[in-house]
Symmetry: C2
Subunit: 292 residues, 2 copies
Amino acid sequence: MDFQNQLRIEQKIVNDYLNRMMDIKEAPKSIVDGMSYSLLAGGKRIRPVLANAICKALGGDSEEILPFACSIECIHTYSLIHDDLPSMDNDDYRRGKLTNHRVFGEAHAILAGDGLLNLAFETMIETVKKYNYKPKFIMAMEEICRASGVRGMIGGQIIDIESEGKKIEIETLYKMHEKKTGALIEASCIAGCVISERFEMIDIVKDYSKNLGIAFQIVDDILDYTGTLEKLGKNVGVDAANKKSTFVSLLGLEESQKLAEQYTENALKRAEYIDKSGFITSLTQYLLNRES
Amino acid sequence: MDFQNQLRIEQKIVNDYLNRMMDIKEAPKSIVDGMSYSLLAGGKRIRPVLANAICKALGGDSEEILPFACSIECIHTYSLIHDDLPSMDNDDYRRGKLTNHRVFGEAHAILAGDGLLNLAFETMIETVKKYNYKPKFIMAMEEICRASGVRGMIGGQIIDIESEGKKIEIETLYKMHEKKTGALIEASCIAGCVISERFEMIDIVKDYSKNLGIAFQIVDDILDYTGTLEKLGKNVGVDAANKKSTFVSLLGLEESQKLAEQYTENALKRAEYIDKSGFITSLTQYLLNRES
């Protein structure tokens, strides 16, 4: 099967599960609607697809990893809803649609974000229980939880807002992205590895995900500079408008492209060891060459 | 020992642990400062004190329950930070100090709230691991997680903001408080019971906490009507200013006081069975008669 078809199948598996997650009884309809609006708005589903792919490539059970993979997508989506708020990036478009607060108002958007973070943990804890409290499931949840907290993603977001309007050092930019984007991408890959029980592969999976995470972010910065609202589904030039330092603003477009290729190369070397089928290799290349 | 002294000791145990929780390395100092500002601002620590008291009264280990009790306080505090935001209740004072967003700005306040919710789960997962993945710890975490989500606390907050400016039915008011305040108080008590492994006591503990939760909220409404900023540490008359329905606005002051006494009576009957030492009985009476 060609890569694009395979990717669509993997995304569909994720989307179907996310749909089931949003079938929430006993909660006010308006909050479920608000959460669904952003969670089911599409998107590339990179993190859950990665978690599933690594777990399967290492011989793990795809049913076991799926709830964790989709919980990560909930966490990612909550962070986007909060990032887009007027007091943060003040964005109007996301995934080709109006941002959550632009449709539901700020109060509902904040609560929809809170609800998605909480739902991620509800889902993971239910899964731990379903599989009889087996430690590997708690280990996967621990990795994800640590990555999404103030030592990880939230910490990165703080560095981001505090760097606005300042010219920061390239080291700070790396650190910010390592936390803000890298931590959750890394946790996705580690969760896949942990659920597969191939613990001897943890270091190479970490190495893969660290390189992929940086490449991913550099490409993101390039797309914000060169892309269009039509292709990206979100406003472009936002970084420049918000006076944010990016790889492009600090290193220039050409150097950034070279750097993205270099980190992708590093990731590809590890991908070969992790996945003989070639899917993760193709996914890694696809992320470098994406247009949105 | 008299009740007030004992309560102070219990509060100190909680505060000491919360202080240790906020000793976070590897996170930007500003976010840790923002979280600490609200988490360590004092407050009655009702929820963690209740969790600890019930666990101990039922013969449980106080070291085992403490991390869960304090994680509940983190969740409670995050909900206050988000509730106080300009797009929600737009409050200026909380626990006798300026609200989080008034000191740190909205963006930081939103992230401090997110960080506290995440920290609660980080702490609980670490504790699960520390005690070798024993199921009761995951069960306690599950109760807390469900109570704080859209089926519980967040759902109640949605009903609250959607009821603003409307005259709601008394049934809706009950449902709102059952979720917004009641769910987490109930989870505190259930967590204490679960960690004590006295599973046969679950129903009576639930009954106790349900009655206590309602009494607690009615008293809260009364204090918002009769209290002062000085005593409460937060602005009073906020409910009326925000055109919120309360027990006082729907039933009048006298009827509300009677109702609070009645629910407290119900709770007291259960408290006797749970705690022979009398501490929970005194705590229940104290919550009815509090002035803040």
